[in-house]
């Protein structure tokens, strides 16, 4: 049994009377690529928000690298080694591509304005190192020549890669990707797949939330399936693909769509 990176224990989230996530538990081992799938409204995005701390859990616990993270605020999770990207790309429009990636390294700087002012040479050296590291990350995703570009000058496929570069900058222990293939064309999706395969080979632990079932079956070692807030399957891709509960959840939804 490999070391556990992330452990979700009975995570529950209620919105008034609606239970969006109902006592879901799963684990991600070190170096594992885990997929989280499910039909629309299954609670995937809410689950993602609970793990990243965007929303608090109503009940249950989140453990990361053996530490209880349940009540840690969102901004405290990135310095601990948890990095994420966003489904709707959330890059900072007022900053250049390079500056966006540099923000991924923000926790390396001493906190506070006065400390920044008194930082002197150490701060200047950190700034230089941050620039170099951010350029390295852009180079990794193949966008080093676009470092000075503005966000609105980039295509969606490029923006996703910038988002990934930003998330990777701190050297996280767990990379969480929220629907990274959403809205991408085939060529861009293939390019993304190659990128994720490279990261997986480097031994990075990943959690992917995805709509595109084919994409996730290829990219992951293990798949957690959610339907209407509960976990209905948690297995290797080959067995999840043939699981009757999973098939009926997806087909049930298709039937519901057809009825409209």
């Amino acid at each position: 049994m490999t070391e556990t990176i992330l452990k979700v224990e009975g995570a529950t989230r209620r919105f008034g009377g609606l239970v969006a996530v109902n006592a879901v538990s799963f684990e991600i081992g070190k170096g594992m690529a885990c997929g989280l799938i499910g039909p629309n409204g299954a609670g995937k995005s809410t689950m993602f928000d609970l793990i990243t701390g965007v929303r608090p859990v109503s009940a249950g616990d989140i453990w990361f690298k053996g530490q209880r993270m349940t009540n840690a605020p969102a901004h405290a999770r990135s310095p601990m080694g948890m990095a994420r990207t966003f489904q709707i790309v959330r890059l900072f429009r007022g900053l250049s591509v390079l500056e966006n990636v540099m923000l991924g390294l923000h926790p390396r700087f001493a906190d506070g304005i006065i400390r920044a002012l008194l930082g002197g040479k150490a701060r200047a050296a950190q700034e230089t190192a941050t620039r170099a590291r951010a350029m390295e990350m852009l180079d990794f995703v193949g966008l080093a020549d676009r470092a000075d570009a503005r966000i609105e000058e980039m295509t969606l496929g490029q923006l996703r890669l910038v988002d990934i570069a930003r998330a990777l900058a701190l050297g996280p222990d767990l990379l969480m990707l929220d629907e990274p293939a959403a809205g991408l064309n085939d060529a861009e999706t293939d390019n993304l797949g190659v990128m994720l395969e490279r990261l997986r080979k480097q031994g990075l632990s990943m959690l992917l939330v995805e709509h595109d079932v084919d994409f996730i079956m290829n990219a992951c070692d293990r798949i957690v399936v959610m339907d209407r807030g509960t976990k209905i399957a948690d297995d290797v891709p080959a067995r999840v693909r043939t699981d009757p509960k999973v098939i009926s959840a997806y087909i049930g939804q298709r039937a519901a769509h057809a009825a409209h």
Binding site: R90, L91, G94, E99, G112, E127, M135, L156, L159
Partner: protein, 329 residues
């Protein structure tokens, strides 16, 4: 091999502005012109604080004129009522501004956009009410007068005073420029553009907002102290709406969230009415028309003309960039 990173902005334009500022007293002859020059610096200081808060961090606080007035009143009252010297009064005033900013920032920074604007505007009205009506404490309409700044037993002349104001403006300009070019500036802009994403990257959003609110209040306080130093009198007109309107006009005309917008805007807002006095009764209308033209043709302010190294190239490149944006939507 990693590609070279794009060049970083340099300190050269800051030094250019300060050298120009230091040469002004030798170019201007009349006392009136010197007063205008000092007023430009005072408004520039006030607007740099607001630019950090609104232009870079996206927090629209309309309470800045109140901190400007607290700075001016504090400096006068600590000298007149407690008999403190100018330097302790200056430091004491800034401490007062910082403490008041923390007290109003803790509850108010939970609010966003126009709610924050309304709440901070209410704070300004309260401050104005106190300055106006609590006559025993603030002197009411007649305000408080102070003695001129002295050095070695002699009153400092107009040129000396100009350099005191310039020194303050230089300190604020260097601080403003350092912050916006550092990781602090990146964090501020991240909060402005997307708080959730900023927090996900480890930026402590609440702490940063409060820090910047306190800093901008202290900077407004510095502007207020400069005002008292030059006018030798404080009265409730300090925090009337015209100050707020001037400050907003400066940042918009100069360029919100730009390095030199507040200074360019201050030059325009202080000098334009002087240039337009020839229009007589039509002055206000022509002034308003000028501002409209600015907003229509330069929505990103004067700085957008200057800070773009390749303005024409950027303009031409707009078409292909537009198609990229469509794909992103």
């Amino acid at each position: 091999m990693t590609a070279n990173s794009p060049p970083r902005p340099t300190l050269a334009p800051v030094i250019f502005i300060l050298v120009l500022g230091a040469l002004l007293p030798f170019l201007l002859q009349s006392g009136f012109h010197m007063r205008l020059a000092m007023l430009i610096w005072i408004y520039a200081i006030l607007s740099m604080g607001f630019n950090l808060l609104y232009g870079y961090t996206g927090q629209i606080s309309l309470g800045q004129p109140a901190f400007y007035a607290i700075g001016a009143y504090g400096f006068a009252m600590l000298q007149v009522k407690l008999g403190w010297g100018p330097v302790p009064s200056f430091i004491g005033t800034l401490v007062v501004c910082a403490v008041v900013a923390v007290l109003i920032g803790l509850p108010l920074l939970r609010l966003r956009t126009h709610y924050l604007a309304m709440a901070t505007l209410a704070f300004m009205l309260i401050q104005h009410g106190i300055a106006n009506r609590w006559i025993g404490f603030t002197g009411g309409q007649s305000g408080i007068a102070i003695v001129p700044l002295q050095w070695g037993g002699e009153t400092i002349g107009r040129t000396g005073l100009y350099f005191v104001v310039l020194g303050m403006a230089a300190a604020v300009l260097l601080l403003h420029d350092f912050l916006v070019r550092s990781h602090v500036g990146r964090a501020m802009q991240a909060i402005r553009d997307d708080e959730t994403a900023a927090a996900a990257l480890g930026v402590h959003v609440v702490k940063y907002k409060l820090r910047i609110l306190v800093l901008s209040a202290v900077i407004a306080g510095v502007a207020g102290v400069c005002f008292t130093l030059t006018s030798l009198r404080v009265d409730p007109s300090l925090s009337e709406f015209h100050v707020l309107v001037s400050m907003l006009t400066i940042v918009v005309v100069g360029g919100l969230g730009t390095r030199f917008g507040p200074i360019l805007g201050s030059v325009v807002v202080v000098l334009l009415p002087q240039v337009l006095t020839g229009f007589g009764e039509l002055e206000t209308i022509v002034y308003g028309a000028f501002i409209l033209v600015f907003l229509l043709f330069l929505p990103h302010g004067l700085s957008s003309l200057i800070e773009r190294r390749d303005f024409l190239a950027a303009f031409k490149a707009r078409k292909p960039a537009g198609t990229g944006k469509e794909a992103a939507e």
